[in-house]
Protein backbone atom coordinates (compact mmCIF):
# COMPACT_ATOMS: atom_id res chain seq x y z
CA UNK A 1 0.00 0.00 0.00
CA UNK A 2 1.27 3.47 -0.88
CA UNK A 3 2.00 5.29 2.35
CA UNK A 4 3.68 8.40 3.75
CA UNK A 5 4.79 8.57 7.39
CA UNK A 6 6.14 11.68 9.06
CA UNK A 7 8.07 11.79 12.30
CA UNK A 8 8.07 13.07 14.89
CA UNK A 9 4.44 14.12 15.23
CA UNK A 10 5.54 17.15 17.22
CA UNK A 11 8.91 18.79 17.82
CA UNK A 12 9.75 21.52 20.28
CA UNK A 13 13.01 23.39 19.74
CA UNK A 14 14.74 26.32 21.32
CA UNK A 15 15.57 29.17 18.99
CA UNK A 16 18.86 28.35 17.26
CA UNK A 17 18.62 24.61 17.96
CA UNK A 18 18.96 22.86 14.60
CA UNK A 19 17.07 19.64 13.89
CA UNK A 20 15.50 17.51 11.16
CA UNK A 21 12.02 16.30 10.27
CA UNK A 22 11.56 12.94 8.59
CA UNK A 23 9.23 11.80 5.83
CA UNK A 24 9.41 8.12 4.93
CA UNK A 25 7.45 6.74 2.03
CA UNK A 26 6.53 3.43 0.47
CA UNK A 27 5.44 4.05 -3.10
CA UNK A 28 6.59 2.26 -6.18
CA UNK A 29 7.94 4.57 -8.82
CA UNK A 30 8.29 7.87 -6.98
CA UNK A 31 7.43 10.72 -9.33
CA UNK A 32 7.97 13.56 -6.87
CA UNK A 33 8.14 14.46 -3.19
CA UNK A 34 6.74 17.75 -1.94
CA UNK A 35 7.17 19.72 1.29
CA UNK A 36 4.58 22.20 2.50
CA UNK A 37 4.32 24.51 5.48
CA UNK A 38 0.92 25.07 7.10
CA UNK A 39 0.24 27.81 9.61
CA UNK A 40 -2.82 27.57 11.90
CA UNK A 41 -5.99 28.59 10.11
CA UNK A 42 -4.31 28.67 6.71
CA UNK A 43 -3.87 26.40 3.74
CA UNK A 44 -0.60 24.60 3.03
CA UNK A 45 2.14 26.75 1.48
CA UNK A 46 4.38 25.04 -1.07
CA UNK A 47 8.08 24.84 -0.13
CA UNK A 48 10.01 22.30 -2.23
CA UNK A 49 9.77 19.59 -4.85
CA UNK A 50 12.34 16.78 -5.01
CA UNK A 51 12.35 14.29 -7.87
CA UNK A 52 15.29 11.93 -7.44
CA UNK A 53 17.49 10.43 -4.75
CA UNK A 54 20.42 12.66 -3.89
CA UNK A 55 18.60 15.84 -4.79
CA UNK A 56 18.69 18.75 -2.34
CA UNK A 57 16.80 22.06 -2.23
CA UNK A 58 17.38 25.01 0.09
CA UNK A 59 15.35 28.03 1.12
CA UNK A 60 16.56 30.30 3.91
CA UNK A 61 16.96 28.09 7.01
CA UNK A 62 15.37 25.03 5.39
CA UNK A 63 17.05 22.31 3.37
CA UNK A 64 15.23 19.30 1.96
CA UNK A 65 17.01 16.11 0.96
CA UNK A 66 15.79 12.90 -0.66
CA UNK A 67 16.86 9.25 -0.58
CA UNK A 68 15.16 6.21 -2.07
CA UNK A 69 13.14 5.67 1.11
CA UNK A 70 12.80 9.00 2.85
CA UNK A 71 13.20 12.73 2.84
CA UNK A 72 14.53 15.02 5.51
CA UNK A 73 13.69 18.64 6.12
CA UNK A 74 16.65 20.14 7.95
CA UNK A 75 16.07 23.33 9.89
CA UNK A 76 19.20 25.27 10.72
CA UNK A 77 19.17 27.78 13.61
CA UNK A 78 15.37 28.00 13.65
CA UNK A 79 13.49 31.11 14.69
CA UNK A 80 10.06 31.37 16.35
CA UNK A 81 8.56 32.33 13.00
CA UNK A 82 9.48 28.87 11.69
CA UNK A 83 6.81 27.42 14.01
CA UNK A 84 4.22 25.65 11.84
CA UNK A 85 3.10 22.22 10.74
CA UNK A 86 5.27 20.80 7.97
CA UNK A 87 3.56 18.44 5.54
CA UNK A 88 5.14 15.95 3.18
CA UNK A 89 3.40 14.55 0.10
CA UNK A 90 4.45 12.10 -2.60
CA UNK A 91 3.36 11.40 -6.13
CA UNK A 92 3.80 7.85 -7.34
CA UNK A 93 2.53 4.32 -7.03
CA UNK A 94 -0.96 3.51 -8.20
CA UNK A 95 -2.74 6.56 -6.77
CA UNK A 96 -2.35 9.08 -9.54
CA UNK A 97 -2.67 11.84 -6.93
CA UNK A 98 -0.68 13.30 -4.08
CA UNK A 99 -0.47 11.21 -0.90
CA UNK A 100 0.02 13.33 2.21
CA UNK A 101 1.56 12.48 5.56
CA UNK A 102 -0.03 13.67 8.79
CA UNK A 103 2.58 16.34 9.31
CA UNK A 104 5.07 17.39 11.98
CA UNK A 105 4.07 20.26 14.24
CA UNK A 106 7.16 22.35 14.95
CA UNK A 107 7.30 24.81 17.82
CA UNK A 108 10.32 27.07 18.22
CA UNK A 109 10.60 28.87 21.53
CA UNK A 110 12.58 32.09 21.92
Amino acid sequence: EDQVTQSPEALRLQEGESSSLNCSYTVSGLRGLFWYRQDPGKGPEFLFTLYSAGEEKEKERLKATLTKKESFLHITAPKPEDSATYLCAVAGGSQGNLIFGKGTKLSVKP
Partner: protein, 113 residues
Protein backbone atom coordinates in the same frame (compact mmCIF):
# COMPACT_ATOMS: atom_id res chain seq x y z
CA UNK B 1 1.61 30.90 -8.20
CA UNK B 2 -2.15 31.49 -8.29
CA UNK B 3 -4.00 33.43 -5.61
CA UNK B 4 -6.87 31.35 -4.27
CA UNK B 5 -9.71 32.47 -2.03
CA UNK B 6 -12.41 30.45 -0.30
CA UNK B 7 -15.76 31.39 1.17
CA UNK B 8 -16.82 31.02 3.89
CA UNK B 9 -13.65 30.88 5.97
CA UNK B 10 -15.55 29.08 8.71
CA UNK B 11 -19.08 28.07 9.58
CA UNK B 12 -21.05 26.26 12.26
CA UNK B 13 -23.95 24.24 10.92
CA UNK B 14 -26.72 22.02 12.24
CA UNK B 15 -26.80 18.35 11.35
CA UNK B 16 -28.94 17.50 8.37
CA UNK B 17 -28.29 20.80 6.60
CA UNK B 18 -26.00 21.50 3.63
CA UNK B 19 -23.19 23.98 3.10
CA UNK B 20 -21.71 25.18 -0.17
CA UNK B 21 -18.07 26.24 -0.18
CA UNK B 22 -16.77 28.50 -2.93
CA UNK B 23 -13.26 28.55 -4.37
CA UNK B 24 -12.11 31.43 -6.59
CA UNK B 25 -8.77 31.58 -8.44
CA UNK B 26 -7.23 34.74 -9.87
CA UNK B 27 -6.20 33.03 -13.12
CA UNK B 28 -7.62 30.37 -15.41
CA UNK B 29 -6.69 26.84 -14.37
CA UNK B 30 -7.53 23.50 -15.88
CA UNK B 31 -7.75 21.39 -12.77
CA UNK B 32 -9.06 22.18 -9.31
CA UNK B 33 -8.96 19.80 -6.37
CA UNK B 34 -11.00 19.52 -3.19
CA UNK B 35 -9.43 18.08 -0.04
CA UNK B 36 -10.59 17.31 3.47
CA UNK B 37 -8.30 17.76 6.47
CA UNK B 38 -9.69 16.17 9.61
CA UNK B 39 -8.05 16.81 13.00
CA UNK B 40 -4.89 14.76 13.37
CA UNK B 41 -5.28 13.28 9.91
CA UNK B 42 -3.58 13.81 6.60
CA UNK B 43 -5.08 15.77 3.74
CA UNK B 44 -7.42 13.49 1.81
CA UNK B 45 -8.44 14.17 -1.76
CA UNK B 46 -12.21 14.26 -2.20
CA UNK B 47 -12.45 14.91 -5.92
CA UNK B 48 -10.90 16.54 -8.96
CA UNK B 49 -12.97 19.15 -10.78
CA UNK B 50 -12.39 19.88 -14.47
CA UNK B 51 -14.30 22.57 -16.32
CA UNK B 52 -16.87 21.14 -18.67
CA UNK B 53 -16.91 17.62 -17.28
CA UNK B 54 -18.16 15.73 -14.26
CA UNK B 55 -15.95 15.75 -11.20
CA UNK B 56 -13.89 12.63 -10.51
CA UNK B 57 -14.38 11.32 -6.97
CA UNK B 58 -11.90 9.33 -4.90
CA UNK B 59 -12.77 6.10 -3.17
CA UNK B 60 -15.00 6.74 -0.19
CA UNK B 61 -16.51 9.96 -1.53
CA UNK B 62 -19.74 10.13 -3.55
CA UNK B 63 -21.42 12.80 -5.61
CA UNK B 64 -24.65 12.72 -3.61
CA UNK B 65 -22.78 13.67 -0.45
CA UNK B 66 -20.23 16.07 -2.02
CA UNK B 67 -21.67 17.56 -5.23
CA UNK B 68 -19.18 19.76 -7.06
CA UNK B 69 -19.68 22.43 -9.69
CA UNK B 70 -17.06 23.86 -12.05
CA UNK B 71 -18.85 26.45 -14.21
CA UNK B 72 -15.68 28.12 -15.54
CA UNK B 73 -11.88 28.06 -15.38
CA UNK B 74 -11.60 30.25 -12.28
CA UNK B 75 -14.34 28.99 -9.97
CA UNK B 76 -15.62 25.86 -8.27
CA UNK B 77 -17.99 24.94 -5.46
CA UNK B 78 -18.14 21.98 -3.11
CA UNK B 79 -21.35 21.21 -1.26
CA UNK B 80 -21.35 19.13 1.89
CA UNK B 81 -24.84 17.63 2.00
CA UNK B 82 -26.95 16.27 4.83
CA UNK B 83 -24.18 17.03 7.29
CA UNK B 84 -23.35 15.06 10.40
CA UNK B 85 -20.77 15.83 13.13
CA UNK B 86 -18.34 13.49 11.32
CA UNK B 87 -18.21 16.05 8.50
CA UNK B 88 -16.57 18.57 10.82
CA UNK B 89 -13.29 19.28 9.13
CA UNK B 90 -11.25 21.79 7.17
CA UNK B 91 -12.08 21.76 3.47
CA UNK B 92 -9.41 23.00 1.07
CA UNK B 93 -9.34 23.66 -2.62
CA UNK B 94 -6.14 23.62 -4.63
CA UNK B 95 -4.95 24.12 -8.19
CA UNK B 96 -2.16 22.50 -10.12
CA UNK B 97 -1.70 19.03 -11.52
CA UNK B 98 -2.57 15.71 -9.90
CA UNK B 99 1.03 14.57 -9.33
CA UNK B 100 2.81 17.87 -9.18
CA UNK B 101 3.03 21.05 -7.16
CA UNK B 102 -0.35 22.20 -5.96
CA UNK B 103 -1.28 25.56 -4.48
CA UNK B 104 -3.91 25.73 -1.81
CA UNK B 105 -6.60 28.10 -0.73
CA UNK B 106 -6.89 29.21 2.91
CA UNK B 107 -9.46 26.55 3.76
CA UNK B 108 -12.98 26.48 5.19
CA UNK B 109 -13.32 25.30 8.77
CA UNK B 110 -16.65 23.52 9.19
CA UNK B 111 -18.17 22.53 12.51
CA UNK B 112 -21.35 20.45 12.52
CA UNK B 113 -23.40 20.33 15.71
Amino acid sequence: SAVISQKPSRDICQRGTSLTIQCQVDSQVTMMFWYRQQPGQSLTLIATANQGSEATYESGFVIDKFPISRPNLTFSTLTVSNMSPEDSSIYLCSVGRPEDEQFFGPGTRLTVL
